[in-house]
């Protein structure tokens, strides 16, 4: 069996499970974000009066952080009241950060667990050897009621990444490249495991990016086998490693499919406006003028991302007529970035800092795009209208490419800027 199958078997009280089988699993941690007042509505509509395991439930206010409208503020108010009434103590209020990053930093998530959130990018947490997947409001309400949820055991696709990346090439470039090759429906209802020498050699900040964007291929969950890098990260978050169970995949396990990707000669990758899987090398789009850069989100707002961006923008200035918006994925990241001087460097270069949260990624506030705007974003989605006007253009790229483009005012290969 695959490690994920063993994990799901244990969570559902079975000894064996196979792909396609439906299991009802115990959920170790479930999280609701501030877009999902519907969770509470569905909970009451189903006749709920009491949350089964309030200690296993978290609420995070990240999509509207802080709220831009009366309605959004009122939704958060109702959620605070619900937490109070139901005895839910884990309420991460405005300004704490994006749910996936917060849960990773909280020390609550680790190998062997079942973690469910009302957000498609929950796959991010698979980088810790977790079964982590996103659901809608009503599914989450069922977890509030019962502590459990049904899942179809997914077949597992192996994406083997091999080789050392060149300077200024990041995990974002790899996952964009993979998306461009496999396309956005490659992994519907399947799990993706990332293996290979590249994965072993990169830190958690970069591993999260691979798992985060797996959902853009339709993946139900993503997985990276826990190793020393994982344990070091968990230790840094104050986790008791002994509390987690690490499952391993049997040697005779057959992957549904295996893809090999040699990352050695990879150039910076860019997804062209409108589609996450229409990907090319930077050389094909260099020089296109831009009006906004967005460095942030659960995909591209981690400490390593701010570090690279500050290295690139050090001593330079954001080009005229370009807004460079930076949103750290969590308060902890913001504080660390201040301590290390990245924030000062970026501010001196003309960047604009916004409260930790999702920011303009979903087009709600803090940098929405006008018709004709051209944005280079480190986020995960460039669907039409995603960040505002359907007539705006969003190029997805790495934080290195985004920072270099901000300095030049046009799409720029970060390797050429230095």
């Amino acid at each position: 069996m695959h490690a994920l199958e063993k994990l799901l078997a244990k969570a559902s009280g079975k000894t064996r499970v196979k792909p396609g089988e439906i299991v009802e699993a115990e959920v170790d941690l479930a999280e609701v974000n501030d877009l999902y007042l519907q969770v509470i509505k569905s909970f009451y509509e189903m006749g709920g009066t009491k949350v089964a395991h309030p200690e296993k439930i978290a609420f995070v206010f990240d999509h509207y952080s802080p709220p831009p409208t009366i309605k959004a503020a009122d939704n958060q108010r109702q959620m605070r009241e619900f937490c109070e009434k139901m005895g839910i103590k884990m309420l991460f209020d405005v300004g704490e950060g994006v749910c996936h990053q917060l849960l990773a930093e909280s020390g609550l998530v680790g190998p062997g667990e079942v973690v469910i959130e009302t957000d498609s990018h929950t796959t991010t947490l698979g980088a810790l050897g977790t079964f982590a997947t996103g659901v809608g409001a009503t599914d989450l309400a069922i977890i509030l009621l019962t502590g459990r949820l049904w899942f179809k055991v997914p077949p597992v696709i192996n994406i083997c990444l091999d080789g050392k990346m060149s300077d200024f090439i990041m995990a974002k470039d790899i996952i964009l490249h993979v998306l461009g090759k496999l396309k956005q429906d490659a992994a519907i209802y399947k799990a993706i495991e990332f293996t290979g020498s590249t994965v072993s050699s990169i830190k958690m900040d970069e591993r999260f990016v691979l798992c985060n964007m797996s959902v853009e291929m339709g993946a139900k969950t993503a997985y990276i086998q826990p190793d020393e890098v994982t344990f070091e990260f968990l230790g840094d978050q104050g986790s008791e490693i002994e509390n987690f169970e690490v499952f391993t995949t049997d040697d005779d396990f057959n992957f549904f499919e295996t893809y090999y990707v040699d990352v050695r000669n990879l150039s910076p990758q860019v997804a062209l406006p409108g589609s996450v899987d229409n990907v090319c090398g930077i050389e094909q789009v260099e020089g296109i003028p831009i009006s906004q850069v967005f460095i942030g989100t659960c995909t591209g707002g981690r400490l390593n991302d701010l570090k690279i961006a500050s290295e690139i923008l050090k001593g330079k200035h954001v080009a005229k007529n370009v807004r460079c918006i930076v949103i750290p994925a969590s308060k902890k990241i913001l504080q660390e970035a201040i301590k290390r001087g990245y924030v000062q460097t970026l501010l001196e270069a003309g960047a604009i800092f916004v409260t930790p949260g999702c920011g303009p990624c979903l087009g709600a506030h803090e940098g929405v795009l006008a018709p004709g705007d051209v944005c280079v974003s480190t986020s995960s989605r460039n669907f039409p209208g995603r960040m505002g006007s359907t007539k705006a253009f969003i190029y997805l790229a790495s934080p290195a490419t985004a920072a270099a483009s901000a300095a030049n005012g046009k799409l720029t290969d970060p390797r050429k800027l230095l």
Binding site: Q38, M46, G47, S120, I188, L362
Partner: protein
């Protein structure tokens, strides 16, 4: 709900949840408010032309992107009875079943053979969809588990009766 009949509206591949329901309206919570923006990101005229009983017919990977349940609520509240596609993104599919929206996967669906404005009949029990121009496509009928939820009008009413039994 053995049979669904209605007017067909055609969409392409990879219709994501931002096209079904743009993110800027996510703060809305009442179905009738949510319905006003149905499919706005894919076709800004859709909210004014959709009529109760509509069937959306699309290519592959319908509902990809975010987990927002608004994407299903907007379709239902606007009167869409069913979505038929060559394939569905997983979270959208679950959300649809949970709320009682009929989602039919037909991998062999050929969009070049059907047109906007055609009428169609979906025979849920036997797994056949027939368009008014005579085109016919077969699909694997729902499992008992999913059919039970759909017949109850969604998982909410199912759980409501379960909770009462307790």
């Amino acid at each position: 709900m053995n049979q669904i009949e209605g007017k067909v509206f055609i969409f392409g591949d990879n219709i994501d949840t931002d096209q079904i329901y743009p993110g800027r309206y996510l703060e809305l919570t009442e179905p009738q408010d949510i319905a006003a923006h149905v499919m706005e990101g894919a076709d800004a005229t859709f909210p004014s032309k959709v009529s109760p009983g509509a069937i959306i017919v699309a290519g592959k990977n319908f509902g990809c992107g975010s987990s927002r349940e608004h994407a299903v609520i907007t379709l239902l509240a606007a009167g869409v009875r069913a979505v038929v596609a060559r394939s569905f993104a997983r979270i959208f599919y679950r959300n649809a079943i949970n709320r009682g929206l009929c989602v039919v996967e037909i991998p062999e669906l050929d969009l070049s053979k059907v047109k906007d404005g055609h009428e169609a009949v979906i025979d849920i029990e036997n797994g056949v969809m027939t368009f008014s121009n005579g085109c016919e496509f077969v699909f694997v009928p729902f499992s008992e588990h999913i059919l039970e939820i759909l017949k109850a009008g969604g998982v909410i009413s199912l759980y409501r009766s379960k909770m009462k039994e307790r």
